[in-house]
Assembly symmetry: C2
DNA sequence: CCCTAACCGGAGGGTTTTCCTCCGCATGTA
DNA sequence: TACATGCGGAGGAAAACCCTCCGGTTAGGG
């Protein structure tokens, strides 16, 4: 669907393999993994990788776009198919945590900051995801299912939740439990007060506005 | 208190600065940070670092020991000073998440695996922490404050909870909120069932028994 | 106050990692 | 079948990193 210009079938396939491999490795080892390792994991030569993605940044961008898109699809489907906002929210959070869909954009954010903020596509999808979260949050609260002292920013934060899972992760099941605990903590009944004030999108924006270290 | 042989006052001070810097950097950038960067952050020369810690492993060990010890102190104090097991558990979780005390040992685990499992000191403290968690969990459940379908392993996992916090973290407050949501989800009242079975120490042990990648 | 054992910093040489290009060979497609 | 498009990976240049070594500084007992 990104249509990605007419690529020969095998080229197209390789491109996708590379992005997938990069997603895995970025999660496991951080965004600094040697590109050669990405190539190896994808089962292609470095040449192929560099041909398709002239520099690391291009790859970062592709991965970012892909996961934002998936996140958006997830929110979209949840909202469309679940009976109410609360269940949509549950499904969304389960999905994004279990698939690590939230972590990736968060990790990428500092690097793609400029482009996220101004640049074309990325920025737009990002906005859509945020809007989706906000919609779910507000409606769930209106329905009295989600505790009131929560903001969309809190949800966005929870999206990026992770427990330290060593690279070989036997952790799926454990994560699922954590998510449920969390959801249980979000429910409206039996709430005990939270410290501070609900985070909204602006907090998130600020939270997100990090300046890269000396970087390079 | 590890007494660390008679070191001259300045040497001792530098040693501690180094460990502290390492803790920060390991958290922020992973355990592979250049040692030179650790030295810089600590405000000492590389020479000083290498004199005190012959190799990276020695530093890893020191950091691990330090954070395990702090974690143990935290559990100890919570158990001793709080009115009941539930509040002890709350305090413990708040502390370990907010101070990132849980993440560090988890991150170190793969590297110190051998030593954790068999070796002297590390192993012993680790056991103590686990025992503490177990004690709090069981008692809180006996008191009917903590939901029953939880195991010490779940708690241990929550301990290592993190939301992706970009290096410059304006995240403290946000984290605090997340923890409270978590705690609220752990309470016995109004529980909705969790998937799977409670994780116990053995799961944790297994979860933890990762083999380092090809690594080296 | 003075002396020295203990400690400090960081320049620099050697090694390892990472980047990225380039080109002969393979393969999809018309 | 023909050839444009795509592939792999060897290899040279550059960067990052490790760790030692030594001239200069300092803590703290006598």
């Amino acid at each position: 669907m990104p249509v990605e210009k007419g690529l020969r079938a095998d080229a197209r396939r390789n491109r996708d393999l590379i992005v997938a491999a990069a997603q895995d490795l970025f999660l496991e080892q951080g965004v600094d993994v040697p590109l050669e390792e990405v190539a190896r994991r994808a089962g292609v030569g470095v040449g192929t990788l560099y041909r398709r993605f002239p520099d690391r940044d291009a790859l970062l961008r592709a991965v970012g776009e892909e996961s934002l898109r998936r996140l958006d699809d997830l929110a979209e489907a949840a909202w469309r198919e679940e009976p109410d906002a609360w269940h949509a929210l549950c499904r969304f959070l389960r999905g994004s945590v279990e698939l690590r869909l939230g972590v990736l954009p968060a990790k990428l954010e500092p690097h793609l900051h400029q482009r996220m903020r101004t640049g074309a596509d990325l920025h737009e999808i990002r906005q859509r995801v945020i809007a989706g979260v906000q919609r779910m949050t507000e409606q769930a609260q209106a329905d009295g299912a989600l505790r009131a002292d929560i903001g969309p920013g809190d949800i966005a934060l929870l999206m990026t939740l992770q427990v330290y899972t060593p690279p070989n992760l036997p952790g799926e099941a454990a994560m699922a439990r954590v998510v449920e605990i969390m959801l249980n903590g979000l429910r409206a009944d039996a709430e005990s007060p939270l410290p501070g004030t609900p985070l909204d999108e602006d907090d998130l924006r600020h939270y997100t506005a990090v300046r890269l270290p000396p970087a390079q």
